[in-house]
Symmetry: C2
Subunit: 229 residues, 2 copies
């Protein structure tokens, strides 16, 4: 018991150090990218909720008008970056090699490669609805995806991803007719724990909701540029 307690204290101390250092690096990244006029969006979700597919769909709306790029975070494989590059969008793959989330220092290392004339920098986090929520990456907007097959009971079961996000995207809504998923219940539950959440419903299959989400990002970009001016 005594040993257990001591262990926990050491664990908590190391975690506090890590989060403190991460927070500092993230603030520097946010300052630098925002000053350059780049809007950075951190996408969080469970594996397979449709983050890469959403980016593919967004690229069709945003790329003709804006310059966008993607940082892909994955435990293994370069598959997601390859999918983004196939759309003609520059992508950097961070392979975490086991680590369950991205950290600000991983983004910091890529900063010298980010072109200054970029409009949107999307960061697709490791597929994990838990750990990435604790790590600020220097984003302007944190966006959590909840796909309909995951179930409408997830916001209160995995609260941190929802309480720390600015925007909630309920994805794969084309499947809702064959699933026991109530969109209004999911939204209500998410808003109960984070009333400031801006919510979207999307389907990459039908294209529903993608334009509205792209407009939200465009307006947010104009906002940081007005602040910079």
């Amino acid at each position: 018991m005594g040993k257990d307690e001591k262990m926990k204290t050491k664990e908590v101390m190391v975690l506090e150090d890590l989060l403190g250092s991460n927070k500092k690096i993230a603030a520097e990244i946010r300052q630098k990218l925002t000053d350059t006029g780049i809007l950075t969006i951190n996408l969080l979700s469970s594996p397979g909720a449709g983050k890469t597919t959403l980016l593919e769909s967004l690229s069709e709306i945003l790329a003709p008008e804006y310059k966008m790029a993607v940082i892909e975070g994955d435990i293994e494989t370069e598959r997601d970056a390859d999918r983004i590059r196939a759309k003609g969008i520059p992508a950097w793959q961070i392979i975490t090699g086991g680590a369950c989330h991205l950290e600000a220092k991983m983004i910091g290392k890529l900063l010298p490669e980010i072109p200054a004339d970029l409009d949107f920098l999307f960061i697709e986090n490791v597929g994990n609805l838990v750990c990435p929520a604790s790590f600020d990456l220097g984003e302007n907007i944190r966006c959590v995806l909840l796909s309909t097959p995951e179930g409408d009971d997830k916001p209160k079961k995995y609260p941190k991803a929802f309480t720390t996000s600015d925007c909630l995207v309920i994805s794969k809504t084309d499947l809702v007719s064959v699933l026991p998923f109530n969109i209004e219940r999911a939204k209500k539950e998410a808003l109960e724990i984070n009333p400031a959440l801006i919510t979207f419903t999307t389907s990459a299959q039908t294209g529903a909701g993608i334009k509205e989400l792209a407009e939200y990002f465009s307006e947010s970009l104009q906002k940081i540029r007005r602040t910079n001016a």
Copy 2:
């Protein structure tokens, strides 16, 4: 840079301590439960892959013949344990309060409450395809679920859950007709990284595959009891 390196060393040391201590406790739990003739199964998956629903379906086949109980691991809420109890199955809820995985010591604390005449002890881990894979809970069988909406590319993107498991359950196969999911591709990819995996395909909606999975658990139970005899 130097500070960063030192931090990492401290992190790695703490993690090694934690995993070493976890491994020792897990081995004790496995020995004790196996000696008592209880088969313990650790279920891992992403959030919403259908672990609780699978347990509900399994209970309909197993409960008339065997005595089963469930330990539920969740970050927040007692929802999953309530669902299991509604089926007449005893369930203990572990609320991790933020922690992204169960650890052996959490199971160890419940051991005095586990009835000695139990046949099956199921442990439903926190919904997370990454972190729980690193923590042995003292189970006899580790079972990873991959639901069809998550995509057939997940085994190599999240390898540890697949390489450390004994059995793979591809769930929600009733949705395969409306999804870009190739069951054979997913199985092949999982078997490439872990040739010893025993694979099942299930649908809690249609009941397909549940009986076969229940039989696998029953045979595994007989096996540990023969070894004990």
